[in-house]
């Protein structure tokens, strides 16, 4: 591929979408009360906030709760600006208007360098940010992902709450005939002179007709909610079985379905008699492939058990994949050959790496790789659909409700307005629920059940064999040492499939084009590191290996941090420096990174005494706008790594709920350790070898370490929290194991 500069390619992608609509200022995401009509007597003041007759506050929730605590975080933003107690806030699923689209997600897809582009940005950078922001607002795609939920809501939700408060105060001022300056809001009540008090419900109707002239957000010194540990509102229902996930929807007269997809990846049905009689089955439904779904059929029964048992008895003949069987061993070889031949697309370049390599006293080179990985959400893929009297109702745990609704309408051949999409709680997402394959299947089944609702649930085996996996990647890293023995250049070439173009094709985002635009996620964490090497050349070769691939918690960062931070460790040892000191010496122009690194090292007592047989490893990584450093303390017990303690420092900008940050770091460490130690999907003769949790192991309680989280105080805007803790885990562990054994592992998983 010809080298292009990243800015032009970015503009090129977005440029296709300019449709002559003026720039939409952030304020217009306030929306109007018409966006938030719930028909339950509540009065909406804008697209986000409504007031119920009893004074409680309704919030239009446009994010999916999949464990990350987002319901609570967004309620806290509203509680803060409205001076309303958390207990007085209730949630309504947001409707489908563009104001609920995720702008931050698309901004995050820009391949900007966080150190080079921090602070004052050149005009071209600002222009591309502006353009992408405009395109994202235009598309209005509602998505929960990319650790963007708080960042995306930070300004507009506080603005919506502050606007609501201002109009309520105007209304109270009129009704009570008291100047607005003599009124205040305390604990969800408007308080006037002489202790006169009334709740929001008394003023909502009048407030809805008023537009405040000026709306100011609180100064951070006035915050009473943001930044304080707050108990999550969703937790009580998750301790008594009352929380409703997708799989828990129960409707009158409901049928249950499950699915059988071609056992060979890319295979299809050759022969299937849908009239065959199978005990327990009411129906066999061949399915068309939409949204990247594998070819296969669904079976319908009176219970999920009937459907699952029956599915094994169905006689079917499968056709093989037209382009031959996929083998992961072969894919790895192909990727490794690729990175020796070509540079691919250059994501970042500074200095003259080729020249530095020519003059080098020594060159250090290493070849790394990472396998395909399944998401394995504990709640298997599922979707419930009822099609009756021209109305389509879909209940689904999804990260992309608007796109799911559009697909359901297309398949059911119904106007989009006739589709109600109900987002349930998600039993884990990790990127798997950014896909729509299971939605397309459930709609197709419901089209055959004569108005009866049907719940489609995948077996764990189907889930494991039909994921959109984290792509396999091979990476070559090459450093040169100058005459003083200092590392003065770093070249990184990686190869693997690009996720974003494939995903956009599947979920029908109108950004997918005939030619793939360079995908930031492929090189993220490699092209944007903070270390001040004079000469850098970072590139990626996008491939097409035929395995369905998708976004997996922390995406490209998840494997790229392993490659880079392990290699950084190699360079420290090669230049006879302490791994911490080596990194520190390269971060003098990146003070935020340095502070995070040093905080983790200090709290972990880096260099201090350890029990015999224990060692520490360190890693630093920025992703989703947040910088995380982790120090892993490990030993070898019975020939196997045991992780004792992980100390994490994070700078994620302004923190909404410190308790959630600590929770997500614990989560990320456990999730990252599962992948580092065990995670891999092997495909042999086209068949995924892992089938269930017995051969795709998840870290257990006995293997989980003590985790400490230290937050760097910050006044910057909030950045990501759900994912940034994942990337540093694997390299920090691998580096600890090297310190223990002297054996460098360059291939994930570490226990392969």
């Amino acid at each position: 591929m010809k080298r292009r500069t990243m800015i032009l390619s970015t503009l090129g992608v977005a440029g296709a979408l300019i449709v002559g609509w003026g720039a939409l200022p952030a304020r217009s995401r306030l929306g109007s009360p018409d966006n938030f009509l719930t028909g339950d007597g509540a009065i909406s003041l804008n697209g986000w906030i409504q007031i119920a007759p009893d004074g409680s506050v309704g919030l239009a929730m446009n994010k999916s709760e999949m464990g990350q605590g987002i319901f609570n975080a967004l309620m806290m933003l509203v509680a803060e600006e409205l001076n309303a107690p958390m207990a007085s806030i209730y949630l309504h699923q947001a409707a489908y208007d563009g104001i609920y689209g995720n702008v931050a997600l698309f901004m995050g897809a820009l391949p900007l360098h966080p150190v080079v582009n921090d602070g004052e940005k050149p005009f071209i950078m600002k222009s591309s940010e502006w353009l992408v922001g405009k395109v994202a607002r235009e598309l209005g795609i509602n998505a929960t992902g990319g650790s963007t939920s708080v960042a995306d809501s930070w300004l507009n939700l506080r603005y919506a709450a502050a606007t609501a408060k201002a109009s309520l105060l105007m209304a109270a001022s009129k009704q009570w005939n008291v100047p607005a300056k003599d009124l205040q809001v305390i604990n969800g009540k408007i308080i006037g002179p002489g202790g006169k008090s009334a709740h929001f419900g008394d003023f909502a109707k009048e407030a809805a007709a008023l537009t405040p002239n000026e709306v100011a957000l609180k100064d951070r010194k006035e915050w009473e909610v943001i930044g304080r540990d707050t108990k999550r509102v969703d937790i009580p229902s998750k301790t008594d079985g009352s929380a409703i996930f997708g799989i828990d929807i129960r409707l009158p007269n409901m049928l249950y379905a499950t699915i059988v997809q071609a056992p060979m990846m890319g295979g299809s049905i050759k022969e299937l008699d849908t009239n065959q009689n199978v005990p327990g089955l009411l129906k066999i439904v061949p399915l068309k492939s939409y949204a990247g779904s594998a070819n296969g059929f669904a079976v319908v029964g009176k219970t999920t058990w009937d459907a699952m048992q029956g599915s094994k008895q169905v006689k079917v003949q499968w056709a093989e994949r037209k382009d031959g069987a996929i083998n992961t061993d072969q894919i790895l070889k192909t990727l490794q050959e690729n990175i020796k031949k070509d540079n691919g697309f250059t994501f970042y370049k500074t200095g003259d790496t080729t020249e530095a390599e020519k003059k080098a006293r020594k060159v250090i080179e290493a070849s790394y790789s990472a396998p395909y990985l399944a998401h394995a959400t504990l709640e298997p893929m599922n979707c419930t659909v009822q099609i009756k009297d021209g109305q389509v109702d879909v209940w689904v745990p999804t990260q992309i409700p608007g796109l799911a609704r559009a697909l359901a309408a297309k398949i059911a051949n119904a106007p989009v307005a006739k589709v109600n999409l109900h987002v349930t709680l998600l039993g884990g997402g990790f990127g798997r629920r950014l896909e729509l394959d299971f939605v397309s299947q459930a709609v197709q089944v419901a089209m055959t059940t004569d108005g009866r609702p049907v719940q489609l649930t995948w077996s764990r085996e189907q889930d494991m064999a039909n994921d959109f996996y984290r792509p396999m990647q091979a990476t070559q890293l090459k450093a040169s040492l100058n005459e003083k023995g200092q590392v003065d250049s770093l070249r990184i070439v990686s190869a693997g499939d690009a996720i974003t173009p494939r995903w956009m094709e599947r979920v029908s985002i109108p950004l997918a084009g005939p030619i793939d635009a360079p995908d930031k996620t492929a090189s993220e964490g490699l092209f944007d590191f903070p270390y001040a090497f004079t000469n850098q050349h970072i590139s990626h070769i996008p491939t097409h290996m035929g395995v369905p691939i998708g976004y997996w918690r922390s995406v490209g960062h998840s494997q790229n941090a392993f490659f880079l931070e392990s290699f950084m460790d190699e360079l420290a040892y090669a230049t006879k420096q302490d791994p911490l000191a080596f990194r520190e010496s390269l971060l003098t122009d990146a003070p935020r990174y340095l502070a995070v690194l040093q905080l983790a090292a200090k709290k972990a007592n880096w260099g201090g005494p350890l029990p015999s047989g224990h060692a520490r490893g360190i890693a630093l990584h920025e992703s989703f706008g947040s910088i995380v450093a982790e120090v892993v303390e490990a030993s070898i017990q019975n020939g196997k790594p045991q992780v004792h303690r992980v100390v994490c420092a994070i700078d994620c900008g302004t923190v909404i709920n410190p308790n959630t940050v600590a929770q997500q770091i614990q989560s990320s460490v456990n999730f990252g350790l599962t992948a580092a130690l065990y995670g891999k999907i092997d495909i042999k003769d086209g068949v995924v070898q892992q089938t269930n949790f017995n051969n795709y192991p998840i870290l257990s309680m006995s293997e989980s370490p003590q985790v400490e989280t230290w937050i760097v105080p910050s006044t910057r805007a909030p950045a990501g929290v759900g994912e940034p803790g994942v990337p540093p885990v694997a390299p920090a562990l691998s580096n600890a194991l090297f310190a223990l054994t002297g054996n460098r592992i360059r291939k994930l998983p570490l226990l392969a």
Binding site: T239, G241, T304, L699
Partner: protein, 150 residues
């Protein structure tokens, strides 16, 4: 077939080999008990059978006819939560929450057998999988509940 579940007797006409999990979820429509793997590997389907944590996805319903079955819905009430439920809230354990019904019932069994478990006891007894990684807080909450009960 007769089944005693949450102190109620129910009469069922089902395939006796059907796993208890699907009887609970799809016949009795009690959805707090979850399906995760179908092979007793993850523990999301854990219920109490005569007080003992049991993986209902591989337990044929006929094998527990006459036994006393308890599901998450019957562990406590909002007014009077089980000490483990209270500890779960205090320690802010759940994330996505999908594994937590099974996790709680496994912990109930553990505390019945060992009212003051050590970390090692907890590690040994709690083999349920949590994909979100709530293990650190599960452990803390079990200790908290054990202290509360003392």
């Amino acid at each position: 077939m007769q089944l005693t579940i949450n102190d109620k007797s129910v009469e069922l006409t089902v395939d006796p080999s059907m796993p208890l999990l699907w009887v609970i979820r799809d016949v009795l429509n009690m959805t707090g008990t979850k399906y995760g793997c179908g092979i007793a590997a993850c523990g999301a389907c854990t219920v109490l059978v005569n007080g003992r944590a049991t993986r209902s996805c591989v337990t044929p319903v006929e094998s527990v006819s006459g036994a006393k079955i308890t599901t998450i819905e019957y562990l406590g009430t909002p007014e009077k939560p089980h000490p483990l439920q209270a500890a779960w809230i205090q320690e802010q354990v759940p994330q996505c929450g999908y594994c937590q019904s099974g996790m709680l019932l496994a912990a109930v069994d553990l505390l019945t057998r060992k009212p003051k478990p050590t970390d090692a006891d907890i590690d040994e007894a709690m083999s349920n999988i949590c994909r979100c990684g709530t293990y650190q807080r599960v452990k803390a909450a079990i200790h908290t509940a054990a202290k509360e009960r003392a």
